[in-house]
Symmetry: C2
Subunit: 340 residues, 2 copies
């Protein structure tokens, strides 16, 4: 009504008795603007509620001060919840972006779609953060496209895909070792592993490797019959644990490749009348929020999602500013609760 259109820098200029470029300079903090002039301009701007039009600004500057966060997962039954570990990371990513003056575009894609072309190309974002697991062949192809297009991006995950951009990940081998050390220190000797250990799931495979290495160093030969494949959902963990029980190969501990798997395994053990941690110790991985809510609360290997989110954002911003790409491994940490 009073002001039908949003004010522009020209309006401010007119009111302040200066030219539009001076307004732009003043508001961006250019030191060539006289201090008094800047004060006057800023006062007028806040008074009439002027805000820089970020579309025009981005167009002119060639950058948008926006990052895009892409969740993707391949076998996506519609309505499926997003991986809780990634969701937990979201909070820290959001906070870090805010601190650094970036906005965050969020998107949820199927790995098989064309997500890799949709953001930086359209100039809506200066760089991409990729969070997702899935078919590693397809993933590799997408990453190659991104590298070819010189898109700025960082990725969370296994450090497997070398040369394909910057990766930040958890030291999964170390995580596996921590789990094994802990279980051994509790007197357990027949350690089972639930989770896919093939090269299609490098994170899980590394966790398993570390887990086995530590056992070997302690003079224990890991029994391959105690490794059961499972995907990172509760149901899959439940099934795998049932199968483990059905196999009748004795075991006194389970290291689950993720907390969701561990939760499913817990359920299977309890339904089978096993006491946790009396008969069987259980250790999970991730430390998702639900891990402390299980009964009994789950001992797990925590990935520090606060540090992870911050590292992703800061590394990406560095990358955009043409700083060197690097690979960063974050150390996991053992959280002892009541299942071990």
């Amino acid at each position: 009504m009073a002001s039908p259109d949003k004010p522009t820098s020209f309006d401010i200029a007119a009111l302040a008795g200066v030219s539009q470029p001076t307004v732009s300079r003043a508001l961006r903090g250019d030191p060539t603007v006289n201090e008094g002039t800047r004060k006057r301009i800023e006062a007028i701007a806040t008074q009439i509620g002027y805000k820089v039009d970020k579309n025009a600004s981005s167009l002119r500057r060639g950058q948008s001060s926006t990052l895009a966060l892409l969740f993707f997962e391949d076998p996506l039954p519609d309505g499926t919840a997003i991986n809780p570990f990634f969701l937990a990371m979201l909070g820290s990513i959001l906070r870090t972006c805010a601190k650094r003056g970036y906005d965050l575009l969020t998107s949820f894609q199927q790995l098989s779609s064309d997500w890799h072309k949709d953001y930086e190309d359209t100039r809506k974002a200066d760089g991409l953060i990729l969070l997702g697991y899935g078919d590693y062949e397809l993933y590799r192809a997408r990453l190659q496209d991104l590298v070819r297009q010189r898109t700025h991006f960082v990725r969370w995950g296994s450090v497997e895909l070398d040369g394909l951009g910057t990766t930040i990940g958890c030291d999964n081998m170390l995580g596996g070792r921590l789990a094994a050390e802990h279980l051994l220190s509790r007197g357990r000797r027949r350690l089972a592993f639930i989770g896919e250990a093939s090269s299609h799931y490098p994170e899980f495979r590394d966790r398993y490797h570390g887990f086995c290495d530590t056992q070997l160093e302690a003079g224990i030969e890991p029994d391959p019959r105690l490794q059961i494949g499972a995907l990172s959902i509760e149901e899959s963990g439940f099934e795998a644990a049932r199968q483990l029980l059905a196999n009748k190969v004795p075991f006194d501990a389970i290291f689950a490749a993720s907390d969701l798997i561990a939760i499913g395994a817990l359920r299977a053990l309890q339904e089978a009348g096993k006491s946790v941690p009396g008969d069987v110790s259980v250790v999970g991985f991730d430390d998702i929020p639900a891990a402390s809510l299980t009964h009994p609360p789950l001992t797990t290997i925590a990935q520090d999602y606060n540090a992870a989110g911050e590292a992703l954002v800061d590394t990406l911003i560095g990358e955009i500013g043409n700083h060197s790409a690097e690979i960063r491994l974050l150390p996991p940490r053992l959280i002892v609760r009541k299942t071990s």
Copy 2:
């Protein structure tokens, strides 16, 4: 290297032997462009990897095809996880945005900050989705600002704040009734409620009202000593349940105002040696993902976050297109698991 700069519509125009405006029209699907011409332009565009610059496009069109999602919560101990119910909604909001051709900017704010000025004013978003609980006085002031600035927004929450924009919420009264009906049908007669029931927490208050109304209709006078305040965190539910037990007022069921509270209450009951559901039935509210993972799995009143997210996005898009504002109440649903 080969193409140092990203291609523009002028490049496409030159290659196709037409003018730039024709390229723009062709790619936007303008029917005045000849079918053959469009095909040719589209072929060239995909071939050289052209993408519309959304900054320029947004600037010219005066809209960004982007929505902004704002989480906020007031007492924000740094590092706190975001409310899991809102997080669960995120997936459906993302999917709906994608379906409707919108991008989503996500942000995490403190209620006390200036979030309400930061998005639509800068033209980065066409509208706002607000998710958050908190101090209702402060909230009201913020909403008034938004209305005054004619910002497009929708809000999830209690329908309390009438006239302040469009609100979508769960029918909390009905949810309370469902909980009471269910517990009564299980033969329970001494029903407790854990959660703040003051007007500062309209959602909880409404749940409590519906809960009491149904009891009254069944000829049962709700005992005010069986209502204990609690905020929506696990710890608070734990404390409240302990207090309830300490009061020595007999009860055979607990309706918790949220699942997090219910999870805390479960823990308190089990530590006190009470059997669930043998001695005490427990019903939660929200149906967060963790609800099915408790032991025993939690009976709860589900808010359909898929429907909620879709409703929020679609209503906001309607609002942007100047369709009438409305208030929508979504029905909750009873999910019977093992705690009742």
